[in-house]
Structure formats: structure tokens, C-alpha cells
């Protein structure tokens, strides 16, 4: 084999080596990009889940106000709250399907201060925690007056 041919073979091997290194670097970069995209999508899904749970709680007939069979939006009946707490504890599995790992509390701010925790299911090794506060009217059917409250929904996800 002539010396020139040997040099050409060496050159080809060097070019191929560099080429494969570039391909490996490209794949590593691509894998990182894909991984970060998956993280972003997971975060978006967790957020959507959190919004879904918040909406489910806001429209739960167990706590929603009604008058003459008409549902009042954005309102929670104080008298229903205690019963709802018991019902939710007794039917844990059913409500876990609806509310998953979350903590639902209602705080009355005005005219007096009070709080109720109607559902709580926590996981220990969570990665994301979203807190959603929704101002809500708290109706007392005994006095027929509305108070000002906040519905606080904490959702946890891995």
C-alpha cells in the first residue's frame, strides 16, 4: 500500500471520527431539549389539573347555594358545609376521583372570621404545589345574609 493511500485512509478515519462525535453531541442536545419540553408539558398539565379541581369544587352541589331550586353561582351555603365535611370523609374514594391529591378549605373573612376544611388528601413526595384562592360569597340561610369568604384550593402533584 502506498504511503499516499495510507494517508488518505487515515484522513477518512479522522473525518468519520469527527462526524460521529458531532452526531453524538447532536443527539445529546436533542435529548436535553426533549427532556425540558416534557418538563414544560408536565407543568402545564399540572396547572390544568389544578384549574379543573378548582372549578369542580366551585360547582359542587354539596356546598353550592340554591334558592327555590335555583343555583346561585359563586356562593357557598354555610349550613351545607358541615354535612359536606362528613359526606366527603365517609365517601373518600368517590371524592378522591374528583379532587385527587388536594386540600380544600373555606375561610370567612367578613363579617366574622371562621374556617372550614372540607377535603384533605396529601402526598408526601410532591413536586408541584398550586394554591388557588377564589373569593366566594358565604350564605347563611338562617339570617339570609351573605358574608365574604375565600375558597382556598391547594393541589399537589408529582
Amino acid at each position: 500500500m502506498s504511503k499516499r493511500t495510507q494517508i488518505q485512509i487515515g484522513e477518512t478515519i479522522a473525518v468519520l471520527f469527527v462526524f460521529f462525535i458531532l452526531i453524538v453531541i447532536g443527539f445529546m442536545f436533542y435529548a436535553r431539549v426533549i427532556k425540558s419540553n416534557i418538563e414544560v408539558e408536565k407543568e402545564e398539565l399540572s396547572q390544568l389539573r389544578s384549574v379543573g379541581i378548582a372549578q369542580r369544587v366551585m360547582f359542587m352541589p354539596e356546598v353550592q347555594c340554591s334558592e327555590n331550586n335555583l343555583i346561585i353561582d359563586n356562593c357557598i351555603d354555610i349550613l351545607k358545609l358541615e354535612s359536606a365535611q362528613n359526606i366527603m370523609n365517609e365517601n373518600n374514594i368517590y371524592y378522591f376521583d374528583l379532587l385527587e391529591f388536594s386540600d380544600v378549605s373555606i375561610y370567612q373573612i367578613y363579617p366574622t372570621e371562621a374556617s372550614w376544611n372540607i377535603y384533605s388528601k396529601k402526598m408526601e413526595d410532591f413536586k408541584n404545589k398550586f394554591v388557588t384562592n377564589v373569593p366566594i360569597s358565604l350564605y347563611d340561610p338562617v339570617t339570609r345574609k351573605h358574608g365574604f369568604g375565600v375558597l382556598k384550593i391547594e393541589t399537589l402533584s408529582k
Binding site: S36, N37, V40, Q47, H146, F148
Partner: protein, 158 residues
């Protein structure tokens, strides 16, 4: 002849490098710096201003003949004949209640806002918070009074 061939090869290489650079910039722009869509934040912002205002207006005053905030504001814009148990008139009482409620909610959540109650926007009856300098979510709620219409407006900044 040899020089011309080399020049052509260099030009070809330059074009390839430019194309690779453009492709890299696109990859970085669309994949690497993809920010998560804030589904939860947009849900909260859209719900917050309207829920806050609706709930506040429905709320019954603690020691003012159990009148609602709407009724107090109506009196505030007209005769100012209502005097509450603590000696405040309807305007003062509604303003103090609004300040308390907003301090327990929007202030605690670190949100900037502006609340206005007016018949003439240049001379508001109640003004709480500071006006938003950039983006805001706004809710305007008209309240009928005998002479005209009064408005309550809540802007939540950001």
C-alpha cells in the same frame, strides 16, 4: 484553475455553515426557550376581578342594619342618610369594609389593584389602591340609583 476550485469550495462551506447556524437559532428559539403557558394564572386573573366585586357587593355589613354593600353604596351616592352603629355614614362604612376585605385578600396575595365607586369618574366617592400602570383585569359593575347610575370598578394589575 486550482485557485478558483478552492474558492468555490470555501464558498460552499460558508453557505453550509450559515444554514447550520440558522437551523440552530430556530431550534433554540422554538424548543429550548419554550416557556410554559400560564393556564392557572389566566384562570385566576379572569375569575378574580369579577368574583371579588360580585361577592363584595352581596356582602352584608356587620353593624349597619344588615344592609348589603350595594345598598350602602347606593345611599352613599344619594342622600347619605344611613348612619351605622359605629357612627360612620354609608360612604365611610363601605370604604372601611372594602379596605378591610382587600387587605385580607388582594394585599395578602401580593396583588396590586384599584377599587373605585363613582357616579362621576373624576370625583370618585371611594378610591382604594393605586391605578395600574400596565396590563390589568377589569370589572365594572353598574348599580342603579334614583338620579342616574353609579359604578363600582375593580382593576387588578398584571
Amino acid at each position: 484553475m486550482q485557485d478558483k476550485k478552492s474558492q468555490m469550495e470555501i464558498l460552499g462551506l460558508a453557505i453550509v455553515i450559515v444554514l447550520v447556524l440558522i437551523a440552530t437559532i430556530f431550534v433554540i428559539r422554538f424548543l429550548l426557550f419554550k416557556t410554559p403557558t400560564e393556564h392557572r394564572q389566566s384562570f385566576i386573573s379572569s375569575e378574580l376581578a369579577s368574583n371579588m366585586l360580585n361577592t363584595f357587593l352581596k356582602t352584608a355589613a356587620k353593624d349597619c342594619s344588615q344592609l348589603t354593600m350595594t345598598e350602602l353604596l347606593q345611599d352613599c351616592a344619594q342622600a347619605r342618610s344611613v348612619i351605622c352603629a359605629n357612627g360612620q355614614d354609608s360612604c365611610e362604612y363601605a370604604e372601611e369594609s372594602a379596605r378591610y376585605i382587600f387587605s385580607q385578600t388582594l394585599d395578602k396575595w401580593g396583588m396590586n389593584y384599584e377599587f373605585l365607586a363613582y357616579t362621576d369618574i373624576n370625583q370618585p366617592l371611594i378610591e382604594i389602591g393605586v391605578s395600574c400602570k400596565a396590563e390589568k383585569r377589569s370589572k365594572l359593575y353598574p348599580i342603579p340609583i334614583s338620579s342616574a347610575t353609579m359604578y363600582t370598578k375593580l382593576d387588578i394589575c398584571g
